[in-house]
């Protein structure tokens, strides 16, 4: 469905140091530097897959999505979405896709969302019968029947986001790019959005790429993740395997009937937290069974669960690892440069 090979997107940006003097100088003499937003990534996505794009801020996630949806022209590399070259922006291609951006809105600000839906119906040539059916379905699934008649500017962020999603799906796109669709939403609204997105994917077999800073979104929606860091692909595979690789240890959470001295916990594993009758231990996977039986026999345990490390921690560890590797490579390159005789 989607294939990306050797994608690069470089920007030339004008750079100047702060201050009035530098600002004046830059009027005459401008210095440019190249920003490598995406620097050679490749992946393939099958029809109907749900893939999470992860990476720290400025990693190149949004840039990749924009290249995939034809908004930005790639500097290099080959990109295909369902056989189309996105940058050509063919009508057939644009009718198949949609990009939803949590931070930008397409709804007409002064008019009720229903007007935007109507506008999109005309633009996407949606037949009347299909339009009514899709709209009814979206309205009931997202519970927005009371909202679509109110001017957009009077809606809350969460209400607006639900209507945004409805506006984006009027033409039943087969490929859906979601760029932080749950940003700024409260926990229950995030859950509603997730459920809805998953249902849409399952019902229409739509291919889905999601970027989000909320790991819960990714964990709930995406069996496969692609991690991008500084424009480079650093992981592509299942989310479980990623967690296994970065943090092979499990977390054993113990709820205790009474306060226990820290010294009694230490031999069981690495103590992550220990407060108010709850202790979290980090234990190697092969030692989990032994730890559990020792804890149950030696401590006043009332409840016990075994969990993976929180995704947020896994991700920040992965990003830190990548950063350290990059710095080391740079240092090696620098020292190699020095040792070459002039």
């Amino acid at each position: 469905m989607i294939s990306v090979h050797g994608l690069r997107k470089h920007y030339k940006v004008h750079k100047r140091p702060p201050g009035l003097k530098a600002a004046l100088r830059s009027l005459v003499h401008r210095t440019y530097s190249t920003v490598k937003a995406v620097d050679g990534i490749s992946f393939d996505i099958r029809p109907g897959e749900r893939v999470g794009f992860l990476g720290p801020n400025g990693a190149g996630k949004t840039t990749t999505l924009k290249v995939l949806s034809g908004l930005l022209h790639p500097s290099e590399g080959e990109v295909r979405v369902d056989g189309h070259v996105p940058r050509l922006r063919e009508e057939a291609f644009l009718k198949k896709i949609m990009l939803v951006m949590g931070q930008k809105q397409q709804l007409l600000w002064d008019l009720p969302p229903a007007e935007t839906f109507e506008l999109n119906r005309a633009i996407y040539d949606v037949p009347a019968v299909q339009y009514k059916q899709t709209l009814d379905e979206l309205v009931s699934l997202l519970e927005i029947s009371d909202l679509i008649g109110k001017p957009t500017r009077q809606l809350s962020l969460g209400e607006r986001m639900k209507c945004e999603l409805a506006a984006a799906l009027i033409h039943r796109p087969r490929v859906l790019f979601l760029d932080e669709p749950t940003i700024g939403l409260d926990v229950s609204m995030q859950a509603t959005m997730r459920t809805f997105i998953k249902e849409y994917n399952e019902k229409y077999g739509a291919t889905l790429i999601l970027t989000s800073h909320y790991m819960d979104d990714v964990a709930a929606l995406c069996p496969r993740v692609i991690v991008i860091d500084k424009g480079l692909l650093s992981y592509d595979g299942s989310l479980d395997a990623l967690v296994q690789r970065v943090r092979p240890e499990k977390r054993v959470v113990l709820r205790l009937a009474e306060e226990v001295d820290g010294a009694r916990l230490a031999p069981l594993g690495k103590v992550v937290t220990h407060e108010a009758g709850t202790a979290v231990l980090q234990v190697r996977q092969d030692a989990v069974n032994a730890t559990i039986s020792r804890a149950l026999s030696g401590l006043p345990v009332t409840d016990l669960t075994v969990e993976n490390a929180p995704l947020e921690e896994v991700m920040s560890e992965l990003f830190a690892e990548n950063k350290a590797r990059r710095q080391q490579a740079e240092a090696e390159a620098a020292s190699a440069g020095e040792s070459v005789p002039a």
Partner: protein, 267 residues
Amino acid sequence: MVRRYLRLLGVQLKASGLQALQYRADFFTEGVTSLFWIFTALAPLFVVYGKRPEVEGWSFGEALLVVGWFTLLQGLLEGAINPSLTGVVEHIRKGTLDFVLLKPADAQFLVSTQRFLPWRAFNVLTGVALFAYAFWLLGRPPSLTGMLASVVLLGTSTLLLYSLWILTVSAAFFVVRVDNLTYLFTSIFDFARWPSSVFKGVARGSLTFLFTYIIPLALMTTFPAEAMLGRLPLLSLVGAVGGSLVFAWLARRVWRYSIGHYTSASS
């Protein structure tokens, strides 16, 4: 294809009509502003012609025709062209042009038809009223061929104005803040209220040259007024049609090129 775009135009017109009606107070202030602008368009004419019977071969009645065209085109510019294209600049700055480019329809069409100010039709009607008054002053009706030619020129003038705006807006893809450019454009358009020959004496005719060939203001107001008076050479009419088509083609090319350089804004 044509039918689809006509339908799209209908939907866009409906949405902007609804937007205009959404705010009742705006609707009335727009009306009052329109009246005010018409007055300011006429005032200098009264000042100039208060002391002399004609300026560079244009009598008061004839010059009034030029002001009529200026008012009419200003109505078109501010009612149908300006609001949409100012919206584009906003789209580019905020990065919401993304949504326009994602739509399976011509992006230039979509941005050019996104907003209308229906109240500006008032200017267009005033322009027509000024024509009637001018011919009443002149004491003769316009020639039939002259009227036909002026209708053709209405088309070319609108196309020219629109193309000039597209060119201005295309600059927004590269420099982002083009508010100043749009002000510059409206200020320059102000010159179109005068018959182009009044600028003959300025800088050895270079202004007349500028306003005929570089920024074709003369084509927009002086030519149709002359056509109505039955004194526009056929060659000028052909030139105006050809010139406006070339301008439109050029604007389209520049627009397409600019879209390719769209960098979008931060996520």
